[in-house]
Subunit: 410 residues, 2 copies
């Protein structure tokens, strides 16, 4: 890893990098006058990268954004609405995306083909354009480069999230300083295969498009692709990065550059922080669970075992109930179809070993209970087959999750 320094910017968000503005408004997409529409713009064209859901029922904005990102053209604005996912909405859904980018282009005085759209909410419900377009006008008027504007934007993308989630890093790289920041929303239907629900990252680092896409895809593999709330992959998962170069440092355009390594590290650091924030705010979550799988033949094996354990309803409910039922952990690892050998598997809860080479190991129930009373739970699984590892982050499965999801639409 290259030498570099990064520092959190207190209360920073998508407007922390130079040359970005944001706003969040309420236009009736959500009830009770809650903020429900975000707009983020750059003063100049940005290199843009994106990773998207692999769900075959991809939403209209996902298909639109993917095509625009793949064209490698510049991007200058992102519109994010809640209330409707604009997924399974057929031709009307596609037309509504085009109407949205056209309206944004006119309001902002920019080319409509430099506008991206992200949507979250109920699947199959058409976008209420009669509310969205006036909301967009209001959002364009309120654009500002302040921390408060970034916070409003982060609030306006929330659905069942309990609080806005954002972060900003000031990076001192080998060629100068820049800032990288992002906002994200969760909080259910989350087992991203390439991305989480919605995440928008801004930076004033001058990273060229192909490199930005590589850095994003690699970081997503170790961050958003390693979290799971409920194992349900959305139709809308999207992570976007906009790089406008406003920091004025020399271009980051070569993967052999130390400056590129520094940028890639900083991006991963920021994305990990945002991904973990999504897990901590998972629907109904009371526990933040880190599952470290080591001793694997390869990373894919470690990942597969970690995901099976993280998605086990029985593991998640046991942790909710503060029950050190380690049998459920080995059981889930056992059906993961990852080719593990029971007799070489060891399991720890925190620093307490529960299983040694497939058999129970001096379990101290009192100490286990004390560990499970904490908010942060660490589970380590050693497969005893090799040197590779992967970490998966998840949360517990609680009564509140059922409350939230039994009546989401009503």
């Amino acid at each position: 890893m290259a030498y570099w320094v990064s520092k959190h910017i207190k209360e920073g968000g998508v407007t922390s990098p130079q040359g970005f503005k944001a706003s969040g408004v309420a236009c009736g997409l959500k009830p009770n006058e809650a903020l429900d529409l975000s707009l983020v713009t750059s003063d100049t064209l940005c290199a843009a990268a994106g990773v998207f859901t692999t769900n075959v029922f991809q939403a209209a904005p996902v298909a639109y954004d993917r095509a625009l990102i793949e064209s490698r053209r510049g991007v200058q604005a992102v519109v994010i609405n809640t209330g409707s996912a604009n997924a399974c909405t057929g031709n009307q859904g596609k037309a509504d995306v085009l109407t949205t980018v056209k309206a944004a282009g006119e309001l902002l005085g920019i080319d409509p083909e430099t506008v991206l759209v992200m949507s979250t909410g109920v699947i199959g419900k058409p976008l209420p354009m009669d509310k969205l377009i006036p909301g967009l006008r209001q959002a364009a008027q309120q654009l500002a480069a302040t921390d408060d504007a970034a916070l409003q934007a982060a609030r306006a993308i929330m659905t069942t999230d309990t609080h806005p989630k954002q972060a900003a890093l000031k990076v001192t790289g080998p060629t100068g300083d820049y800032t990288i920041a992002g906002m994200v929303k969760g909080a259910g239907m989350i087992e991203p295969h390439v991305a989480t629900m919605l995440c928008l990252i801004t930076t004033d680092a001058p990273v060229t498009q192909p490199l930005l896409q590589i850095a994003l895809a690699e970081a997503a593999g170790r961050t958003f692709n390693c979290i799971t709330i409920d194992g349900d992959m959305s139709t809308n998962d999207t992570v976007l990065v906009l790089a406008n170069g406003a920091s004025g440092i020399s271009p980051i355009d070569d993967p052999q550059q130390e400056a590129y390594d520094v940028f890639a590290d900083a991006l991963e650091t920021l994305m990990l922080e945002l991904a973990q924030a999504v897990v901590r705010d998972g629907e109904g979550a009371t526990r933040f669970i880190t599952i470290e799988v080591q001793g694997a033949r390869d990373r894919a094996q470690a990942h597969q075992v970690g995901k099976a354990v993280a998605n086990s309803k029985l593991v998640k409910t046991a942790i909710y109930g503060q029950d050190a039922n380690w049998g459920r952990i080995v059981c889930a690892a056992g059906y993961s179809q990852a080719g593990i050998a029971p007799e070489t598997v060891s399991v720890w809860l925190g620093d307490q070993q529960l299983v040694r080479e497939g058999a129970p190991y001096e379990i101290d129930e009192e100490r286990s209970s004390a560990l499970l009373a904490k908010t942060d739970i660490d589970i380590t699984i050693d497969l005893g087959q090799g040197e590779e590892r992967a970490t998966i982050w998840t949360c517990d499965l609680t009564h509140r999750y059922i409350d939230i999801n039994a009546h989401y639409r009503s």
Copy 2:
């Protein structure tokens, strides 16, 4: 399908076929003097077949039974205990199985190598042999061929099941009459890849061992392998069939025989009934959900889509909440990685079409709500790619499931 008649035997169970006895006793494996140990015996040696969990952490009794079944030797008794799964118990677990079959052999005056063992309960907890062996003695003394004895045996294998589950069919086949019966326990950690938790089937039909194994494996693929409660596959899943031939009809020993087809059909009918009983008694279940996937390229594709929908926590909670949130159904189908094409997918709730070729279709929310107020929910998904189909049965995900599993061991 061959011509044959089968009739349910009211209050029938594993003792309904001729030559079988059973008992269920309380020996302190469960608290509150609940029945916790079952014994089922045949007067004569039986052909025995079995299908087992594919979890690599297979319990000691699973490994033992599998080896005995594969040896194709006869079987004369099955001991089933609750309280401990005897899984992840190392050499002690293996030794405890051997002690159990030896004790059973002595008590029953039969070869210990004709005794099978099934265990269910907490993983990693050693079998309390000081309670099990006296319990076995008591069970041997109480063996009887009555309906009441079968019911006691079915009660004694329950864990979180709310009621005993058994069924018996009187079959009139082309070569004479016989009976086939079974008992089963659920109710969580259930997504069998080859079997459900524990199911024991008895028959007085004279089916030879290789044919019995084929009939069982085929029927399991269309019954127990098509149910899911929570997606967690146990370390102990086992279905056993014992055929003692006491009906006296001529041997069923040729897969070309009409009598074999009749037997295979009857076995599948009985197993489907038992498998569906497990789903209806799923932990915390309030709804019995049938997911019919049709228009598939092949059965595997239909099965994969059905399982993804059945295991979606969001689909299951929406049905619990009586919310016709069909977007969650298409979303789960969309991430099933079964190679479906959104534009050819249609979805029905009961007889009401919700999705037509990937887009919403004249949804009548009131009618949907009325359909979802019923106990039995039918979802049909047409993939529009071929002629094959599969049916998956599951239940909803409820507050009560969380209650049960957050504190299972305490």
